[in-house]
Structure formats: C-alpha cells, structure tokens
C-alpha cells in the first residue's frame, strides 16, 4: 500500500507561542528572547525588587551555584529591562512594543498545577500616551484570539514591585468556539500593570515623558484552559500520547 507520510506534531506551548506571535506582530510587537540564567540585576534589582525585601519572597528562586548574583530567571520581566536598556543605549526611544515568551523557573515542589519550569509571555508597550485602558483592550484582543471568541477583561488590584498601578486580570470569553468549561465564566489569567517610573528610569528612559504597561501571564495556564489539560506536568513529560493530540 502507498505510505502516507505521517506528520509529527509540535508541542502545544509552541503552537500557543506561534499564535501569540502572529496576533502581536499584527499589532506591531517584536518578539524578543534572552538567557535563562539571569543576573539578579535584570531579574530583581532593576525591577524594583531590592535584596532583603519581602517582595523577593513572592517568588521562590533557584540560585546558580558558583555564579554569585545569578539565578534561573523567575519571570520573563527581566526581558523588559534587557530590551529597554539596549534600545535606550542605542538611542532608540519609545514607542516600544515587545512580547517575550519563554521558560521561567520557580523553586517549588511540583504537582498537578505547579511546575518548577514553565512558560510565561511578557508583553510590553511604552510610549507617550499609553494607558491602562490600552492594556485592557490588548489583553481582550489576545484572549479573544486564543480562546476563539470575544473576550472581556476584568482588572483586580494587585502588587508587583515593577508596576504601579499593579493589577491581576481575569478574562471572560463568549462565542460558540470557546471551550465549554470557560464560556461565559471569569477566569483568572495573570498579572500586569503600568510600568513603575523607576523601572523606566533604570533603563535610561525618561519617565516624565514616557509611560507603559507590561503583562506576564503563564502560557502553561493558558494552554491548560484552552485545551482542558488538567496536569501541568504533561508539558515536560515528553509523552507523545500528550503531544500528538495537538
């Protein structure tokens, strides 16, 4: 019989990043990447998370042996600093529009909803007239694409040292193609906020002139919601009974 060439499958997280990139390229965003071993400067200090401050307890950090001052990055937010610093050093001023999907690490015991290594997507927009209202719209657009419906965003107060105001955002999507378990329900998705003026200054950007927002939800969580995956550990299982469903 004729051999049908069997196609392989990409990982669902790869599909999600591909989709996110497509949506955000359309809105003028550039995808950036960076190292997984990150300096405490980029991961904490420049993001207003001083040493010996309780804010550092918000994340359980892996420290790198024999490399003082370095950690496995606990979030993709350090890529904000890398990007903005690089641009301002080159003399390229805002507007900036960036997404940064990538692997991040938390030093915690794993279970169905917690993994020591997982994926986040950072988004950043800086300009002279950027507001929280633009963030609401941008997140609604992204979530609408990902969850295949029309999405509404709800903000709740929160705290991150690198944003002011800080918010958590929830999404509610409606439409026939929205996964049934999500349809019409508020779902908690991640943190965001207006970039703290000190963070802009730390990157050499005039915070009197420019403002911006940043967001950083977990991609694993989005994938789990989108496809109804109940165990985050499947992501790194290397099991094709999982991967080949996507």
């Amino acid at each position: 019989m004729a051999q049908e060439p069997q196609r392989g499958n990409i990982h669902p997280i790869s599909s999600l990043i591909r989709e996110a990139n497509r949506v955000f390229v359309g809105m003028g965003f550039t995808l950036v990447d960076g190292p997984l071993i990150e300096s405490e400067h980029y991961n904490f200090d420049a993001l207003n998370v001083p040493k010996d401050h309780p804010a550092r307890d918000m994340q359980d950090t892996f420290f790198v042996k024999d490399l003082p001052g370095h950690v496995l990055r606990t979030h993709t937010s350090g890529l904000q600093i890398r990007y903005m610093t690089e641009q301002s050093k080159k003399g390229v001023l805002p507007p900036y529009r960036v997404i940064a999907p990538g692997k991040v690490f938390r030093n915690e015991a794993t279970d169905m909803t917690h993994e020591a290594e997982f994926f986040q997507i950072e988004g950043l927009a800086v300009g002279e007239d950027i507001t929280l209202a633009h963030l609401k719209w941008t997140l609604a657009k992204f979530c609408g694409e990902v969850f295949k419906g029309s999405a509404e965003i709800r903000f709740r107060p929160s705290f991150f040292p690198f944003t002011e105001p800080s918010i958590e955002f929830d999404v509610r999507a409606v439409g026939d193609d929205v996964p049934e378990k999500l349809r019409g329900r508020w779902i908690e998705l991640g943190g965001a906020g207006m970039i703290h003026p000190q963070v802009l200054e730390n990157c050499g950007i005039d915070s009197k002139k420019y403002r911006g927002w940043a967001f950083g939800p977990g991609l694993d969580r989005i994938a789990m919601l989108k496809w109804g995956i109940d165990d985050v550990r499947l992501m790194h299982s290397g099991d094709l009974r999982f991967v080949n469903q996507f």
């Binding site: 990447d33 309780p54 209202a133 633009h134 107060p157 290397g238």
Partner: protein, 599 residues
C-alpha cells in the same frame, strides 16, 4: 492575614455587611481573599495583604480603613484619630539605643501592680477567631493591640529583668538566649537584641526572652513598643528560622510613629484587663519621622488609567481613603498619613484612585498602531526554531520538552527543593533518549510505525548557554552502533524579514489517556465484496478497542487481503488476555457472518 468580621465591626457605628460582601469589596478594590471561614458567631476572612501594604494593612484597623473607603462607611472608632503624648514620663526605666539606624524608636511603658489572669471571653474569642491561642490577660493585650493596629508589642516581667536599664544593641557573636518558645538561640553579631543591664532579654522585633517571661506571679511589667529595621529583622528571623507575627510586620517596614499609638492602646488595655498603675513612659526617638507629601494631577490620573475622571472624582477618593489634600489648579497635594509608607509618587495616588473608583470603570481603548515604525523585525532565534519545527514535523518528528535539570552537567543550582537532579543539562541527548524509550512501548497506541522526537532547548556547555536542536528516532536515518542515540546541533539564528505563516494546532480539547497497559491484536481477512471491514470492527469490537488501523493490504488472485491492528485498553484497569481473546473471538464470528474470510 486572618481578619475577624466581629472585630472589624468595632471600628464602625453599625455592623458591616456580611463577610461575602466584604470579601467582594476587598477583592475588587484592595486585596485578594484566600477564603472566608465561619468561626462560631464570627466569620474570618483570609486577606492576602500585598507586600506594599504590609505597612498598614497587617492589622484590623488597616482593613477597616480600606472597607470604610470602599463601602463609603465612615470609620467611627479609629485608634489613630488622636495622638497620645505618652505621659507621665518616668526616670525609673532608661533606654539606650546603640544603633539608631536599626532601631528608630523605642518606647518603654512601666506598669506596676497588675494581676495576671485569664483574659475575658471577648478577647479570647477575638484571638481564637484569627488562630491565636489565649495565654493570659497581659500577653493577650499585647497581641490584640498588634493585630488591631499593626504595631508589634512585648511585655517583660520587670522584676525578672533584674535591671530597668534597658538597651538595644547588636548581639555578641555566640551569645545565647532562651526565647519564649523555650529554645536556646545562638546569636550572631549582626542581630539586634534587647538587654536589661546588658543581659539579652529579647531578640529585637522577633521574639521575647524566657528570662523575663510574664507568669502568674508577675506584678510589675515593662511594655516595649519599638521600631526595628525591616531588613535587619528579616535577616535575623531567617537566620534563626524564627518567623513570628512581630517579625512579619517589621519586615514590611512600619512607621516609627505607629509605636506611640501601639503603646497608648496597650497601656490602656492592660490596665482595663489586669489593673495596675502606669508609672510612666520612656520614649527614645532621636529622629522623628517627617511629614510626607505626594502630588498628583487629575490629568496624570487619567493619563495612567485611560479614564476621564474629574477633580471631584479624585477628591472623593481621597476623602474616602482619609488622605488629606490641598487642591490648586488641578494639582492635588496629599499629606500622607504616617502609616501609608506606600504612597510616595504620583502613580501611587493614581492607583489609589483607580482601585477605589473601581477598575471596571476603565474602558478598553484600542492600542494605536504605530505605522511609522513599519513591520516589526523578525527574531532570528525564534524564526530558526519555527523553521526547524516545520521541517521536522513534515518528516514525522514530534516536539517534546524535557527538563533542563539533569543528573550531571557543568552548571548546577544551589538550592533545589528535594535536591535531586540539581545540574543544568549540557546536552539534549539524555532527555530525548529517555523520552524515546518511554514512547516506544506506546507505538501501537499512537498508531506510529516509528517514534521520532525533537527538542529545541537550552543547554549549558563550554561555559555558555546555547539553544540546541536535538533529534532522535527509533530506526534511522543513520542508526549508530549504540542504537537509539540522539543527535544535536546548535540552532543557528536565521535573519529574514518576515515570519512564515505556519499552521497552528486545530485541536479543540485534550483527551485523557489511560495509564493502564494495552493489548494489541492483529486480524487478517479476505475482503467480502464491497463491505467495509474497518466499520464493522469499529462497531463491533466494543469500547475497549481504542485504536483500529489498517496495517497490511495486498491483492492476490483477484482477492484483497486486509490486515487490521486493534489496540485494547481500559481507563480503569489492566485488561486480561482472556477478555481480549473473548472480544476477538466474537469479532471474528461477526466478520465471518458478514462474509469476510478470516485468514
């Protein structure tokens, strides 16, 4: 922090709405709520106070103030409404602070002639509601005031102190003190201690010492209401593995002004509960905190939030939050209450406005496209990865992610929980080889002739962090002598000007797969005219047949031979050969009935 509804009610003239309403109000205007629990007559909210509000909201007063602003109910009984002048002063007690950078203020209150006993029921109820054990009226009074105002307090037995010459100094390296938990702590030279006649009687901001513990025989006490440096307390508590309700509050940084309110409240409560007479106070406060101001314009608020609020809207928020202000041509100058150490810059005030008016009032405004910039540049690493994915998938490879943590490697992390696999991989190969081995037994279930995997991932080798592309397959293309060996190469970045339009997953829902072993059966037959063998098998093999695939087909002397592979698997148990054989026997009979000739 655990917050009692009945406790909160005492700040207001009338009881607050029910706990569910309070939880909702806090969730959308202040803090996340981890849960609401019924405790007898009371309801207890678990409020996740954010680190920026540890200054003022690790207290019932702080939460009451928030609710007052959110629900527009005035705070009728505010312990911060009147400032106490802490009189009379006494010279019977003295305080010397060695490091005023680490202890900004120390107030000692000397009370004589008290009677230690059980606390009244109301106090026991309050403390027990928030998970605290009642100890005695004096200790309970200090705890109550801490949970009420946020100021940590401590009471010493004045006689047991041995000396009323108190000091705050760095510990001597190796100095040992028994704390109230009856454990011996060996202190380091970086830790701050409270002394009486130079003997350590407390670890500053962390825990009191056993030598001056309050007990039934106590009649005279010295109460401490002090302000210790957050970083110092944090380091000490971490080093001694002794995190307490007091250290958790100091760590956040609290205003030294708070110490006076804490002292006047606790002195009053101790006298009410245990009698006695206040001999007097000593207040060492070398550099009083200066009044703080913060400014914001209505324009700035709207620029940050993307709203169109008016000056009246902003003023209303400040009034509700108890933020006194002066307004001049759109500029609000706020005189920041001492406890609100978080309010400094205009954005802080914009946040206050945003959360109190409610973030639901923020519209969703389209982000303007920046046409001038043109098309965003393509990321060469991401493009290379996408290209590799597309090519490999076309060749039948599937993408896996395996852990970066490994048995060996050049780099390691120093503090991994559990401690296993602390190294960072220097190659993708071991992960891929493991994944291949795990997948091979599932080949039939997956309907694959060969397992082929790839991973694009980070490794650390030669002192560098590099992104590699690794592949492995069961058979080829070039099997090595070792057999199933992965090959890998550096993923070289590709410079292009636009992204390819690559397919996304079209899967709607992930389907669970069974964790139980499966059984495979092949069945071969001569076809019967136009009858569809596969349809018959699918219909008749039963729900345990999870996969049916045609694996062989040939024609001989005008007849067609069909070979099907059927995979049986249960979601809840391990199947037996016997039951699968029975299913196959029944299936064969049905196929024969339909005119197929089993080979």
């Amino acid at each position: 922090m655990k917050v009692s509804k009945l406790w909160l009610d005492k700040f207001f003239d009338a009881p607050l709405p029910d706990a569910a309403t309070l939880a909702d109000a806090l969730t959308f205007h202040a803090f996340e709520i981890d849960g609401v629990e019924k405790k007898g007559e009371d309801e207890v909210l678990d409020v996740k106070v954010t680190p920026n509000r540890g200054h003022d909201c690790l207290s019932h007063r702080g939460i009451a103030k928030e609710l007052s602003a959110i629900l527009k109910i005035p705070l009728a009984h505010d312990p911060f409404a009147t400032k106490s002048d802490l009189l009379p002063k006494t010279s019977e007690v003295s305080v010397h602070i060695q490091r005023t950078d680490l202890c900004k203020r120390y107030i000692a209150g000397y009370v004589k002639g008290i009677k230690v006993g059980a606390s009244p029921q109301w106090l026991k109820d309050r403390l027990e509601a928030i998970g605290q054990r009642s100890i005695n009226n004096v200790v309970d009074a200090t705890n109550f005031v801490m949970f009420n105002t946020g100021q940590p307090l401590h009471a010493f037995d004045a006689h047991k102190l041995g000396s009323l010459e108190l000091g705050v100094r760095l510990a001597k390296d190796g100095e040992v003190m028994e704390a109230l938990d009856k454990k011996q702590y060996t202190l380091a030279g970086s830790m701050l201690v409270i002394t009486a006649g130079d003997k350590a009687v407390g670890i500053a901001g962390v825990k009191g010492g056993m030598p001056a513990a309050i007990d039934e025989s106590t009649t005279d006490i010295v109460i401490e209401s002090a302000n210790f440096d957050g970083v110092s307390v944090r380091k000490t508590a971490a080093a001694l593995k002794l995190r307490t309700d007091a250290s958790a509050r100091f760590e956040q940084g609290i205003s030294p002004e708070l110490a006076a309110y804490g002292m006047s409240s606790v002195a009053e409560l101790v006298q009410k509960l245990a009698g006695g007479e206040v001999v007097g106070f000593v207040d060492v406060y070398p550099e009083p905190a200066k009044p703080q101001f913060a400014n914001v314009t209505v324009e700035k608020v709207n620029q940050v939030l993307g709203t169109s609020l008016t000056g009246a809207d902003v003023a209303d928020v400040f009034v509700r939050l108890g933020l006194p202000y002066k307004e001049q041509s759109g500029v609000f100058e706020v005189s920041v209450p001492f406890e609100r150490l978080d309010v400094v810059i205009p954005e802080d005030l914009a946040e206050e406005v945003g959360r109190i008016v409610g973030y639901d009032t923020i519209p969703a405004t389209p982000l303007p496209l920046d046409e001038a910039r043109g098309k965003p540049p393509v990321n060469p690493n991401f493009y290379a990865a996408e290209r590799a994915r597309d090519e490999l998938v076309a060749q039948g490879y599937s993408e896996v992610f395996t852990s970066v943590f490994a048995e060996k490697g050049e780099r390691a992390v120093s503090n991994k929980i559990g401690g296993d696999r602390p190294y960072l991989r220097s190659s993708l190969a071991p992960g891929l080889e493991d994944a291949l081995k795990k997948n091979i037994p599932n080949k039939d279930l997956l309907g694959l002739k060969e397992i082929k995997l790839f991973e694009i991932g980070t490794v650390w080798k030669g002192g560098k962090e590099v992104i590699m592309l690794g592949t492995i397959s069961e058979i080829g293309p070039r099997p090595t002598s070792r057999g199933l060996e992965a090959s890998e190469k550096i993923l070289e970045p590709l410079d292009v000007t636009s992204y390819d339009d690559l397919p996304l997953s079209t899967t709607k829902r992930f389907a669970h797969f069974s964790k139980y072993p499966y059984i495979v059966r092949d069945i071969a037959m001569w076809a019967a005219g136009g009858a569809d063998a596969e349809a018959v098998i699918r219909a008749e093999a039963g729900p345990l047949a999870v996969k049916v695939s045609l694996f062989d087909r040939f024609e001989k002397a005008g007849k067609v031979s069909l070979g099907y592979r059927i995979v049986f698997q249960s979601f809840d148990r391990t199947l037996t050969e016997v039951e699968v054989n029975q299913i196959m026997a029944k299936l064969s009979a049905i196929l024969v009935d339909k005119g197929f000739e089993i080979r």
